[in-house]
Each structure stands twice: as C-alpha cells, then as structure tokens.
Amino acid sequence: MDSLSVAHIKNANKQIFWIIFFVVCTLILTMLSIGQGSSTNLTMWKTVRIILGLEEANELQSSIIWELRFPRILMAIIAGIALSTAGALMQGCLGNPLVSPLTLGVSSGAALGAAVAIIVGYSVVNVPELSIVGNAFLFSLIVVAVIIKLGDMNTISAETYILVGIAITFISGAIVSTLQYFASDEQLSQLAHWSFGSLSRPDLVNVLWISIAIIGLLPTALAWSWDLNALALGGDEFAISTGVNPRALRKKILILTALMTSIVIAFTGLIGFVGLAAPHMARIIVGNDYRKLIPCSAVFGSFVMILADTLGRTLFAPVVIPVGVMLSVIGGPFFMYLLLRSRG
C-alpha cells in the first residue's frame, strides 16, 4: 500500500478514536448525572451499582432512579442524538451552516399544536395526559406534509426550503400570538412552560418508544453519507456528476429530519440550540465526512444535552432550570469559543 493510502487510513482511524473517546466521556457523564440529585440517600456510586444490578434498591430508591432520573437522562441522550443528527443532515443537504432542525418550521408547527391544545382545549388525542403531545406531533406532521409537497416540485431549491420554513414559522407564530391574546394567565403560563423545553415530561415507557423510533431511523441517515458528502461539498451540479440525485436526496433527508425532530419536541417542547451547535462541534473534531460526522454529532448532542440538564437541575436545586434555557446559557458562549478558536 502506498504512503497516501496509509496516511488516509491513519487519519480515519484517528477520527474514529476521537468518536470512541467521546462515547466513553458521554457514558461517564451519564453515570455521574444519574448519581446527581437532591436525594441524600442515593450517592453516585450507589446509583450506578443499582442501575447495573449490583445492589438491591429499596422502594424509594427504585422510584427515584427508574421513574425520575433514568427516563430523564435517557431522554436527554435520545433527544441529543435526534436533534444533532437532524441538524448535521439538514446543514449538509441545504448547504448552509446556519440551519438547524427548527429551520423548516417543524417546531413552530409543534408550538401551534401545543397552543391549540392548551388554549382552545382541542386535541386530536382524547387522553388528557397526551393531549399536548398529540397535537404538537400532528401539527408538526403538517409541516412534514408541506415538505413532501415541496419536494415534488421540479424547481425546488435548497433556498426555497429555507424560505418556506421561515414563512411557516411566521404564520404559526402569528396564530399562536393571536391565541395567546385570548388566553387566561394560567394557559399562558402552561404554554410558556411547554415552550421552555424539558426532559422530565415523558415517562419511561414513552422514552423507550421514542428511543426505538429514533434509533430505527439512524441507519437510514448513515446510508446517505456518501451522497451528502458530494452535495455538501459542491452543490447540485457536483452531486449529479457524482451520481447523486440532489432533489430526491434533499426531499428524503428533510422528511427524515422533520420526523426525528417532531418525535422529540412533541414530548419535550422546544429545544433549539443543540441541533445547530453539536454538528459544528463535531465538524471541528472529525471534519465534514458524513460517515463520521453523523455518529460524532449524535455523541456530542447527547453529551451537551446531559451536561445542560444535569447543571439545570443541580446548580440551583431544588429549582430546576429547563434544559432549553441551560443549553443556550452554557452552550452559546462555549460554542462561540470553539468556533473562534478553530477559525483562529
């Protein structure tokens, strides 16, 4: 094998090493996070031993771990994977580093659904506990339907998708504002609370279903890595010359990312920052090759989500700061630091 091939393999191995390193860091952070909380009779190591089945837990301990902390942390991991993977895919297929999973208007659709459930009192799901989730999911699916319809148009470009997303955001925002105008204080408070984004809403069963859906969708994303590399590097003409159909690829990716985003934010509320920042953090480590960027973004997304949630519930305990707020507060400056450093 010649020196260039050897150097290429060496580079790839180095990047894979970093991905594995950050997977290990995320696992350690997960364990630390499960051990952190206001309960005094559960130390970190005790919690870890209980989770690994090395120690018996009493009823209270079992309840704290399996009903409170574990679903929350698992939701942080899954939401991080879903939103950051969706962000990386969207940035590549739209050729724009500024887009995030919320760009297409999926989140505004979900917010409108939540507002209809809370203020109008109408929900597509007759189960009271799932009325907001059901509406948020259905309304975000309407946005997915718009994307499918757009994808069928011959003249659709990456810019059109972004502009339609902005238009959907404005229209949904205007309807939500109108509904808020007629809402009671209690309804306003409930809607504001939903929009902060929280990982504590779904129970363990829901989190497991969400996990199955997201993990099931991930291999599809990875299968498009080569096509995304061509499209993200050189745009439509370059992609076609490489054997990629950019219009079909863009449509498939946007449907996938909209679904992943809808599934998560219907349960958690709005969590925005991670989908923009985590892929860029991953790009600094492994570059723009989507075969490595997708897994690395997923790992970074999980890491950042767990970190933000853990700080949010421990820094000012017993007051819990919503994960969406914490992400912006700690993630924003850190993200700026990373970008300035890498570009410097």
Binding site: L4, A7, L233, F238, I240, T242, N245, N288, R291
Partner: protein, 262 residues
C-alpha cells in the same frame, strides 16, 4: 473507430429563449473534442444536457449505443464524469476525500483497497500529493480545478465532459492538465473520449482531435482544427480578425488581431 457519444436533435430552451436548437453530434472513442463559441453560445448548456443536469426539451442521447435519456444519475455517473466551471464548497473535506468521491458510483459504504489505490494513483498522476490532506476550500482556484478534474478521472468514465477546465490555471498547468487528459483519451486499451468547452483557441488547436464551433445554439463548423479554425470562421463566430500560422510542432497557432465592428 466506434461512436461513443451520439446526440440527435437536441433542443433546450430557457423559457422562451432558445439555447440549443436541433443539435446533432457524435464523438468517437479515443477522441478529444473541443467546443468553442462566444459566451452564451450554449457550450455549458450542451454539456449539462448530456449529463442530465439540465433536462433537454427534445432529442436523444446515447453512449455506447445505449440510450441514456431515462438513466438515473448513479448509472450515468459510471459512463460520464462532468467537471463544472467552478465548485463552491459549503463544507470542505480533504483533497484525498474529494478525489474519493469519484469512486462514489462504485462504493456502497466502505472504501475498498482498490478504491483507495485508484484515488492514490490519480493523485500521483495529477501531482496533487503535496496537498492530498489539505482542506479543499484552503486551495487556490487553480488547485481546486485540478482536484475536481482528478475526481473525474478517479470516476473511470467512458466520457469526460469538462466545462472550461483550464480557466483558473496558470500557463504551465494549462498545458500539463491538457496533456494528461490527452494521455488518458489516447489510451487504446481503455477507450475513453473527452468533450471540452473551452475559450482558449490555441489550447484547443493544439490538443483537440476535432473542434466544434457553436454559435447561438447551432453548430457552425465541425472538423479537424486546421479545417475549422480559419480566419473566416473565427470572424463569423467571435467577431475578431485573426491570422493563422503553422507551428514547427505541426499544430496551427492563431493570433487574434482586432475586433470586427458591424
């Protein structure tokens, strides 16, 4: 020699503007054909129609006697590799990986030893070793152009479609790149051809087996450089006066004198 590319009655319009009108052309195996014409003559549009980047309005295109009108991009990319005028990169990758994208039509997910060897060989062939692991967007315009041509070569197509491949290159690199393309096209063991849209009339005269003069979407002249590049044809297409000289190497050289005013 067998025909590699056959284009029949190709027409393309941008709205009401007729860009290509009932165009017919054939390219034989091991043939390097240059298309010359003024800006807007339809050179780039012709290349894009052949590669299905632009959908033709009417016509039929076949490669190796197989009609490719309904081919999907993946199978077409094993027959044709197209080099655009410029590639603006949103998310840059290493030069080695850009050239590796030429292997995309043959790769499912994992890179084989053979793919890596072909990429490595192409990088050596094009003298890109120095920046094989540099990011594509940190290269100069000319270096990028060479990398994208190398990617097209790694694609191992039957037909190269090159849209102004020397426009960003210095004089030395223009000659080098054209020599390398000529070497590939002349390889009888692996018959390939190239269709090149180009502005440099002397480069075309030196390297082309055939020259096509295109004006307002129609072929004005088609033949060997010495037949096509006459002062009359050049005046008709480019509106300039010129003198033609025979160089010691056997090629013709064109000296453009002045513009011709109507």
């Amino acid at each position: 020699m067998a025909n590699l590319l056959e284009v029949s009655n190709l027409s393309f319009n941008y709205g009401r503007l007729k860009v290509l009108e009932n165009l017919n052309l054939t390219i034989k195996e091991n043939e390097l054909v240059c298309i010359l014409g003024v800006n807007g003559a339809g050179k780039s549009t012709l290349l894009k129609c052949i590669n299905k980047i632009l959908p033709m309005d009417t016509g039929e295109i076949s490669i190796d006697s197989k009609v490719v009108n309904d081919s999907d991009p993946a199978s077409l990319s094993r027959l044709i590799s197209y080099v655009p005028q410029s590639v603006k990169s949103s998310f840059s990758i290493d030069v080695f990986d850009v050239v590796m994208l030429g292997r995309r039509p043959y790769i499912n997910w994992a890179i084989s030893k053979n793919d890596r060897e072909i990429v490595s060989k192409t990088i050596h062939f094009f003298g890109l070793e120095e920046f094989a692991f540099r990011k594509f967007n940190r290269l100069s315009g000319g270096e990028r152009q060479r990398v994208v041509i190398a990617k097209a070569i790694a694609q191992e197509p039957r037909l190269f479609l090159l849209d102004e491949p020397t426009s960003d290159l210095d004089l030395n690199n223009q000659i080098q790149v054209m020599k390398k393309i000529k070497t590939l096209v002349e390889d009888k063991a692996n018959p390939r051809s190239a269709l090149i849209a180009i502005h440099d009339i002397n480069i075309a005269a030196r390297f082309a087996d055939r020259i096509i003069l295109l004006s307002e979407g129609k072929i004005i002249a088609d033949g060997e450089p010495v037949e096509v590049l006459t002062p009359e044809n050049i005046a008709e297409v480019f509106m300039v006066s010129s003198e033609i000289y025979n160089s010691p190497s056997g090629n013709i050289q064109i000296v453009v004198k002045d513009e011709i005013n109507n």
